[in-house]
């Protein structure tokens, strides 16, 4: 019995390792190519590692401005999403009315809508409202598109904070919004952080929305400018592209590491979306 257990454990490890290597291979290319003077498309260990690729892309037009734009755009949208989601989740989690269930089902339904499909009418709406190529308009749309999922998650986390704590505060005369701020929020910071960071990560990688709604090169976030970087010059400089990819990915990786260190990471998310 014990021998069989050990065998099955060994087999599991080997299969897992094989899959893990398959997942790592494409990642290796970007790491090696970024420090390779003559990077091509295959994974090859650079014989003369160099930082020239990074030096070449670290300038205002290629890196600093797109990354800053991305931070403004995704940071602003994630904050807006979070504020609206927390406000919306509070009554949904605390007060039972006939309105709750239909609303939550609608929200759940909206999480499933392919946002790609509404981009054509959204573009039309933006033309009508004169919002095309504005950071504010794009922030509002990006925030809205991630709202349903954020409301759903935030409500799930908020349900975990016992209502008895607020009942005491209500007796003491605290208003709903004060109870939310002083009692509920401090107790659900981990949940808030999970929703906020995942909203941000989702937006940071989003290509289609800013690609459609923003036009001026000086407003484009990194997710779109990396695309133009690639397609503008014909045969691209793979080393520089790889270096830029790494820089662009950094904020997301840092946030993710922060999340998994402090909060048990995405496993908390996995738990919350089980339904």
């Amino acid at each position: 019995m014990i021998a069989r257990d050990r065998m099955s454990k060994l087999a599991s490890n080997l299969v897992l390792l094989a899959i893990g290597v398959l997942f790592v291979l494409p990642l290796l290319w970007v790491l090696f190519a970024s420090i390779n003077r003559t990077a091509g498309l295959r994974v090859e260990f650079p014989t003369h590692p160099t930082l020239n690729n990074f030096k070449a892309v670290l300038n205002t037009d290629t890196t600093y401005r797109p990354v800053l734009n991305g931070l403004v755009l995704c940071g602003g949208s994630a904050l807006l999403t979070m504020v609206c989601a927390v406000l919306a989740a509070y009554p949904l989690s605390r007060f039972k009315t006939r309105f709750n269930r239909p609303f939550l089902l609608t929200v759940l339904f909206c999480t499933g809508l392919p946002i790609t499909a509404v981009m054509v009418p959204v573009y039309g709406l933006f033309v009508q409202l004169n919002l095309v190529d504005t950071i504010g308009g794009t922030i509002m749309f990006m925030a809205t598109s991630s709202l349903p999922f954020a409301i759903w998650l935030t409500k799930t986390f908020m349900d975990g904070v016992p209502i008895s704590l607020e009942e005491a505060a209500w007796v003491d005369g605290a208003g709903n919004m004060r109870a939310l701020r002083a009692i509920v929020l401090p107790l659900m910071w981990p949940g808030i952080a999970v929703v906020l960071i995942f909203t941000f990560i989702g937006m940071w990688g989003n290509f289609f929305v800013p690609f459609m709604l923003l036009l001026s090169p000086e407003r484009l976030p990194a997710s779109v400018s990396i695309f133009t970087f690639f397609s503008q010059y014909g045969e691209p400089n793979y080393g520089q592209l790889a270096a830029y990819s790494i820089i662009y990915t950094m904020p997301v990786l840092l946030l993710y590491l922060l999340l998994s260190k402090k909060l048990g990471g995405a496993f908390a998310l996995g738990g919350a979306i089980k339904g």
């Binding site: 490890n13 299969v15 897992l16 899959i19 893990g20 997942f23 494409p26 990642l27 290796l28 290319w29 498309l41 609206c84 509070y90 949904l92 605390r94 007060f95 039972k96 009315t97 089902l105 759940l108 339904f109 909206c110 999480t111 499933g112 809508l113 392919p114 790609t116 499909a117 509404v118 981009m119 054509v120 009418p121 959204v122 709406l125 509002m140 925030a143 809205t144 598109s145 709202l147 009942e167 209500w170 605290a174 208003g175 709903n176 940071w204 990688g205 290509f207 289609f208 997710s223 990396i226 695309f227 990819s245 662009y248 990915t249 997301v252 995405a266 996995g270 738990g271 089980k274 339904g275």
Partner: protein, 308 residues
């Protein structure tokens, strides 16, 4: 609505009804920013979609100056067009291979294997899979374009074991983008299933083992039924996510060569923006929304019946 916010009055029994209607409405007030945003930027565009799909709206030509109702013309044109039927097929193949078979099965397999593996291996594989997931869409697309290229890593590996290689993005683009989506999206399923499996009580599986249900049989008859709710949720979420994938395919193949990897979102984009046919584009968007809505409804129904 003149009632002031009076939470202390409602405090002893916030769940009981029978309060004045105004107080109830005030309590729901925090919902307004979210509802406002969703009405303007989500419900609005969807309604507009329904309207525009029945017109000849365009960015140039007659449809630009003079928008007219054309009834079902756009849909007739779509379902009569080879490119549209091709896009539907491509979308179905892409969703089936990459989400329903690929991400779902691989994610479940990884979660199951991880329970029986050593910590070092588990951490290494988990990090690699999640690393692929958090990468921005376009970066992932470049990495995999390089991987599948004629001179790319995949062919180097194939040559090493004596197999012939080819330019995968040219020869089998829909397979290549599907594999790319599996690479990028499996982490989500893995996380959902890890969380679900961690809640399956160990005793139940052990007693099943005692009763002689080992290995595969135990998996099918004991473990899987216990996480059926998670399977459902996960299947639907990844199906819907995959239906609307745009950036990954656009950056890898632009739907080509020809239309060999042109899924519905790419076809819609091409019609609406490259060819300026807004009316026709929104009709396609409406078809996509309908497909998404059907999946959502099946999912909600399934969840409701299981919860009951």
């Amino acid at each position: 609505m003149t009632t002031t916010v009076a939470p202390s009055a409602a405090a002893p029994a916030p769940k009981r009804s029978g309060r004045p209607r105004g107080a109830k409405l005030v309590k729901m007030l925090p919902l307004t920013p979210a509802i406002g945003l969703m009405l303007v930027f989500l419900a609005g565009p969807i309604l507009y979609c329904v309207y525009a799909a029945f017109t000849n709206m365009a960015l140039t030509g007659t449809g630009a100056a003079n928008v007219q109702f054309v009834g079902l013309e756009n849909f007739r044109k779509a379902f009569g067009s080879n490119a549209f039927t091709n896009a539907i097929w491509m979308t179905l193949v892409f969703t089936l291979i990459s989400a329903i078979i690929g991400q779902n099965t691989l994610g479940l397999g990884l979660a199951l294997l991880m329970r029986r593996s050593t910590k070092v291996v588990r951490n290494f594989v988990g990090t690699a899979v999640i690393g692929a997931w958090v990468l921005p869409e376009v970066v992932a697309a470049y990495l995999l374009s390089a991987f599948f290229n004629d001179n790319g890593t995949l062919n180097v590996m194939l040559h090493a074991v004596g197999l012939p290689g080819q330019d995968w993005l040219y020869a089998a683009p829909i397979i290549a983008v599907s594999l790319a989506n599996i690479w990028r999206g499996t982490a989500f399923s893995m996380l959902v299933y890890s969380a679900a499996l961690s809640e399956v009580p160990k005793e139940i599986e052990e007693s099943a083992e005692m009763d002689g249900a080992a290995g595969f049989r135990r998996l099918v008859f004991v473990t899987l039924p216990m996480i059926s709710r998670a399977i459902m949720t996960n299947l639907m979420l990844i199906t819907l996510q995959t239906l609307s994938v745009f950036g990954l395919i656009y950056a890898m193949t632009r739907g080509g060569p020809g239309t060999k990897s042109q899924t519905l979102p790419l076809y819609m984009y091409e019609q609406a923006f490259s060819f300026s046919q807004i009316g026709y584009g929104t009709a396609i968007a409406l078809v996509m929304l309908a497909i998404g809505a059907v999946f959502s409804l099946i999912y909600l129904r399934g969840l409701n019946s299981e919860a009951a």
